[in-house]
Amino acid sequence: MHTEFILAAAKNIQQCILANESTLESLDREIGDGDHYINMKRGANTIVELEAELTPLKPDEALNKIGMKLLSTIGGASGPLLASFFMSMAKVLKENGGDSHAKIAAAFSAGVQAIIQRGKANIGEKTMLDVLIPVAQQFEILATQTSDVNLISKSLIRTAEQGMLSTKDLIATKGRAAGLGERAIGHIDPGAKSCQLMIESVCKLVLEK
């Protein structure tokens, strides 16, 4: 993984978040408190503005800086969770390097583990983890089976989409929607949606190359 790729991914994510304003806003209005889009936008804009500072850094340093910046920019639950993801991913990349798909997948998984710990949540609780856990698992499996990045990317896009859709029928047991009980059924979790969009953005960038 190169810092150049991280910067391009940040731009793709920003464009994708901006393009999905109405989707994210309406999902969060239905079962949240309506601030998810604006928080994600603030985070994405801040990282893109950081380009000059990130460019000279190694990939792990860049990811760590992104995590620190998100921690002081986003707020809400998304801030500490996404920050924990990037900071833990950076730590594992620094220790093991990122010169193979398996190593990148392992670093990604470490990031997801950090979210599990910080959020004290797991799969099936109607959160971003319903997207991230299956994607991390699938990524680790595929990384040992194939070196075809297009195949991996397409598969992860599908996995993320399925995970996002799976939140629709769940009762929320973590996060702001947890107070809703059965009233949350039928609504996709906004955090799962934004994670799916981010994964799709990064995977599409790989496919375009």
């Binding site: 408190d33 601030d35 604006i38 603030r42 002081s72 707020g75 639950a77 801030g79 500490p80 047991t173």
Partner: protein, 334 residues
Amino acid sequence: MKKFINNVDNILVESLSGFAKAHSDLVELHLEPNFLTRANKAQNKVAIISGGGSGHEPLHAGYIGYGMLDAACPGHVFTSPTPDQMLMAAEAVHADKGVLFIVKNYAGDVMNFEMAAEMLPFENATVLTSDDCAVINSTYTTGRRGVAGTVIVEKCVGSLAETGADLKACKALGDKVNKQTASIGVALTSCTVPTAGRPTFDINESELEIGVGIHGEPGRRREAMREADEIVGDCVEAILTDFKIRDIHPTNKHEALLLINGFGATPLMELYLIFNTAAKLFNLQGFEISRSLVGNYTTALDMAGASITLCLLDDEIKQHWDSPVHTAALRWGK
């Protein structure tokens, strides 16, 4: 959306600046990261710090001052503050007796304060407020939300801290007051988050939302609008049931503090009407409402509606509720 706005991105800083100017004898505003402290730093006491999303004014900055908070960290509207704010605030106000964070129980607030607490280089503890009985607590949920009862926790803990009590004692009192307090809210209209520009939820003229949160989160159920006594009756029953379920009982004197809190767009006239009914109903259940507070203390922007909070008093809580306080939003005895 019709609001007093210059630029939607500057609302928070312009409002905080106005607050700091209006109360320059009490508070000092620090920007980037944003936090407010007492104008005169207190010595020899546990530093009490709270914070949370903006839009609930006067919570929390309105409670900075003698007898309550040492600092407050305002986040964006309805969004928790970030750890750098808490760290800088703690750095500014701690006086070698430790820092106590008072945090409303929401996933975002809890995580941001937790990360700040982990990074803080000195002794600290956290009281989580969770007085909202609209959210039925179970092992499956993040737990109950912290709402207007937070004001009572901040008042009592702030009072104890002024006596020079240690961190452990302050935390214990905060936990106790939280346990002895239950709230439930009712919304008649939605609120509009300025950056979103449209109401958070749709609710028509003939409906009300029972158990609404202070961010416009949906509550227990949507109902047809009814007369005030019936609505208040349901709220009183929810509160009493909650104490029963949690096995919390009043002292022999059955004394309680009744707080009727407006969400931002309900006139005081109606809040007093609610107080009148609620006090009567609690009296009928054997409670003596010996302390009261009516007004906008934990708002939800421009939501119409109100919450009812009952805090079961014992001598200790009563003493710390009555003690002098001098803040922008609460002031007596000094």
